[in-house]
């Protein structure tokens, strides 16, 4: 079975992200940055909370960059799975290390 250019199977069709979508992603990332800085600079009395919040927002930003800019949303799912495996590996190692430190 041969495919003409307009009749490719779904997984071979290339998704082209529009300029507008890229711009919207940037706006979301900038808003998250502003929120982080505002919490950090004006919420100094909420110290432990602000560290956690800053990391949480950073993680949201990273997910947005990976999902939209790095095209994970439209790529084969194998890339998303690989990213998740690496992320879980790293986070579990970091958490297990810190548990040891917290129990001293």
């Amino acid at each position: 079975m041969s495919h003409t250019k307009d009749n490719l199977p779904k997984e071979e069709q290339v998704h082209i992200t529009s300029y507008k979508d890229h711009f919207s992603t940037l706006i979301a990332l900038l808003l998250l940055t502003v929120i982080t800085v505002v919490i950090s600079v004006f919420g100094a009395n909420l110290r432990s909370l602000s560290v956690f919040t800053a990391l949480l927002i950073a993680t949201v930003k990273v997910i947005v960059v990976a999902y939209y800019f790095m095209h994970l949303k439209y790529d084969k799912k194998v890339y998303t799975w690989l990213v998740l495996i690496v992320a879980i590996l790293f986070v579990s190692f970091a958490v297990l290390t810190s548990i040891e430190y917290l129990n001293r």
Partner: protein, 209 residues
């Protein structure tokens, strides 16, 4: 030029595999993530041992400059993503323009970094300087990690800039086209990774008040 490659298949006339190239790039990015990941764990452990010193030392960093550089990198991530959109729609000129913009933003980032570093070095906070040697152990550790991690990150910015320059050159020569833009895509992936690392470096070093 044709048939010079040892691996060209009899009937294909080429040996490109866009999907394999992309997978190769992602596997490389994972090694980069684990490289910085290890450094982040070093940071985490030492910070939990010296919370007060890390806090005090972090006040030396300029939040305004850090925020500015964060914005610069986020915008550059958008421009390189847009340059892929441009080449996919066959607009090589626009793609090259957007790549130049990304390169320009990379240079802006490095210039700001230069001013930040020289201010710290001027205050003697670089490892080996007198003030640095006189700091309490936790604070000198903060500055060591700051210089090492942002230095390694800046090295990635420089390498990213070189890669983007190669993409510009090859797009100009017509080697990157609407049908064949894997190079632009992979350069984009690398550049986004550099951005991702900064997204964590920024709050951890500048915003821990």
């Amino acid at each position: 030029m044709e048939h010079t490659s040892a691996f060209s298949l009899p009937n294909s006339g080429h040996n490109r595999d866009a999907e394999a190239s992309k997978m190769g790039m992602w596997l490389f990015l994972f090694t980069e993530l684990l490289l910085f990941g290890g450094l982040f764990i070093v940071y985490m452990v030492y910070r939990s041992l010296n919370p007060e010193s890390f806090l005090l030392a972090s006040f030396e960093l300029d939040v305004a400059m850090g925020t500015f550089n964060t914005i610069v990198l986020l915008v550059s991530s958008m421009t390189i993503a847009m340059s892929i959109t441009a080449i996919q729609t066959g607009d090589a000129k626009k793609s090259i323009f957007l790549l130049y913009t990304t390169l320009g933003l990379a240079i802006v980032f490095l210039i700001v970094k230069y001013f930040e570093w020289s201010a710290k070095i001027h205050h003697g906070l670089f490892p080996g300087f007198e003030v640095y040697d006189g700091l309490p152990p936790g604070e000198s550790l903060f500055f060591f990690l700051y210089f090492f991690m942002t230095g390694l990150h800046a090295l990635h910015i420089i390498i990213g800039g070189i890669i983007i320059s190669v993409v510009i050159y090859r797009t100009k020569k017509g080697l990157v086209t609407k049908e064949k833009y894997t190079l632009t895509e992979n350069a984009g992936l690398y550049w986004h990774l550099v951005d991702l690392i900064w997204i964590y470096l920024f709050p951890l070093f500048y915003l821990i008040h």
